[in-house]
Amino acid sequence: MSNQVALTGNEAIANAMRQINPDVVAAYPITPQTEIVQIFSQFVADGEVDTDFVTVESEHSAMSASVGASASGARAMTATAANGLALMWEILYIAASTRLPIVMPVVNRALSGPINIHCDHSDSMGARDSGWIQLYAENAQEAYDNTIQAFKIGEHEDVKLPVMVNMDGFIISHAVENFNILADEDVQEFIGEYNPEHTLLDAENPITVGPIDLQDYYFEHKRQQSEAVKHAKKVVAEVAEEYNELTGRGFSYFEEYKLDDAEVGIVALGSTTGTAKAAVDNLRDEGIKAGLLKLRLYRPFPAEEITEALSNLKVLAVLDRAETFSDTGGPVFADIRSALYNADSEIEAVNYIYGLGGRDTQVDEIEAVYKDLQDILESGEVEERVQYLGVRE
């Protein structure tokens, strides 16, 4: 059973957390995540969840407390954004390498400096190599759906990895949308009970968590972590399929929008993909064969599936809402180009960095990107590989 409700993205995630009923939530407030923990603390106060809610003194402690709780066999969650995520850095890697299936909504916000509270992906993109699974959402519905699926992915016996559920700050977190919310019991049934293989104080099977690991085994453990990430790809698809059976919604790795016969295409993730769909529709009306690939799963990176889906394109633009400061474009661009290289693809690929620090990106700007792609298609020439969209030069 499901219900249509009108809620903000933050309310959607807080309600997903209520339905999950995690054992421990430890969090520190940061805009634009604050509402998630505030609403959730109301659920705690009203006895709607059994969660032990800890108002820790920093994000570093929030992630550390999540590690402690998860290592003790609990379902642990926290939520953060931007500098809060950056402050967790040390523990992000420890959570992943300790193979603890913590779930964390990240309400994407520009990372300081300069200090800024608005949306971009510089926070989560910086954490892309931390070993966390990363899911992205176009809207509140997807953010909600991803949150519900996260524990089932992370806790799978072949995976055992933490999951970051990303949602664009303000654009999704603070905007009210209609979406479908599952019945509480359906969520409980879907995520099932958590029976971790190893926990602290399992008296029959004593363990140590996180011991020192030098030249002897560190490498093997890292290798296992890579293997788990590989498994995660399969499990993400399985869980998505199961969720689709329950709700009729969703896709495993990405959504293809008018991509089949497209000649010019965009790859993007987050809320801007909604804007891009509007641009695609307008251009289709003009007879331009435009298409879009909206990424849901960014870590692990479904390279082969993406290049397969893009194989009919002639020219591609990757939109990145983050800089890598590598002088070779944004993070998604780097991944896509290397995937295209592996696939011996002849697609001409260019990159646009857009929307940093909450700079609005409008339909006409995305249409202009498609028009640039048309020019490349006609001339066969790329003047600038990496461009900045909507910036004052």
Binding site: Y28, P29, I30, T31, T34, V37, Q38, S41, Q42, A45, F53, V54, T55, E57, S58, E59, N83, L87, S112, I115
Partner: protein, 248 residues
């Protein structure tokens, strides 16, 4: 004719963005007056926090640096080590100073850094919308404690000044309030001493200022002042916790 009142030189013309009845503005003014009276405007560097006072750099007519949330004492340490002859102060809320930045606060004091901290204790995280702070009083409501702070779950309010006063490196520690004209005068005296301690190179100086946040306390400005007096002062007693004779 002698001008008896007016805008301190060390404040810019910029209007404060603080909510009606918020005492951040009063404390800004006191700090600026002290800097004027000690005639140190040209040698003072301020560190702005992340919190409602994030825009302090727009208000103080001084060289200012905006630090990450909780890090002002560490940043101030770096500045002071390069400019030992200059005056360096941090202006921080309780989230900044007593929560996320506690380690920096304790260790700057422990090292006896010759810097001054003005610490605004309003018992709440103001800027982010009234969540529980370590300084939130028992039973006090916050957006993350809708039924009030429950000490069984959240522990007891942190008395930073008492804690830091135990450190050798913290040579001047005072708690003041700005809820009445008389206490505002006393607050100014304490802030002045805390700057003098630095000018004499004696060690770390801290002034904790009990402050109001009518917006997030859900009170009118007047009610907020009363609430501060009735609830905060009993738990956070006023006065000098530690002083040194040489500044007198």
């Amino acid at each position: 004719m002698e001008e008896l009142a007016g805008r301190p030189k060390s404040l810019t013309e910029q209007e404060f963005h603080y909510c009606p009845g918020c005492t951040h503005g009063i404390v800004h003014r006191l700090v600026a007056e002290v800097i004027d009276e000690l005639d140190i405007q040209e040698q003072t560097i301020g560190i702005a926090p992340v919190g409602c006072a994030v825009l302090a750099y727009d208000y103080f007519d001084l060289d200012m640096l905006e630090a990450a949330h909780g890090r002002p004492p560490a940043v101030a340490t770096g500045i002071k080590r390069v400019h030992p002859d200059k005056v360096v102060f941090t202006y921080q809320g309780d989230g900044d100073y007593a929560s996320i930045g506690t380690a920096e606060s304790v260790h700057a004091a422990s090292r006896g850094e010759r810097i001054t901290t003005v610490f605004i204790n309003n018992a709440i995280y103001g800027m982010t919308g009234g969540q529980m702070a370590p300084t939130t009083l028992e039973g006090q409501k916050a957006t993350t404690a809708p039924r009030g702070r429950d000490t069984k779950e959240a522990g007891f309010p942190l008395q930073m000044s008492e804690m830091l006063a135990t450190l050798e490196g913290a040579v001047y520690v005072a708690r003041v309030s700005v809820d009445t004209p008389q206490r505002i005068k006393q607050a100014k005296e304490a802030i002045k001493k805390a700057f003098k301690v630095q000018l004499k190179g004696l060690g770390y100086a801290l002034v904790e200022v009990l402050s109001t946040c009518p917006t997030n306390w859900g009170l009118s400005p007047q009610q907020a002042l009363d609430w501060l007096e009735d609830n905060m002062i009993p738990y956070y007693p006023l006065g000098e916790l530690k002083s040194v004779g040489e500044v007198e």
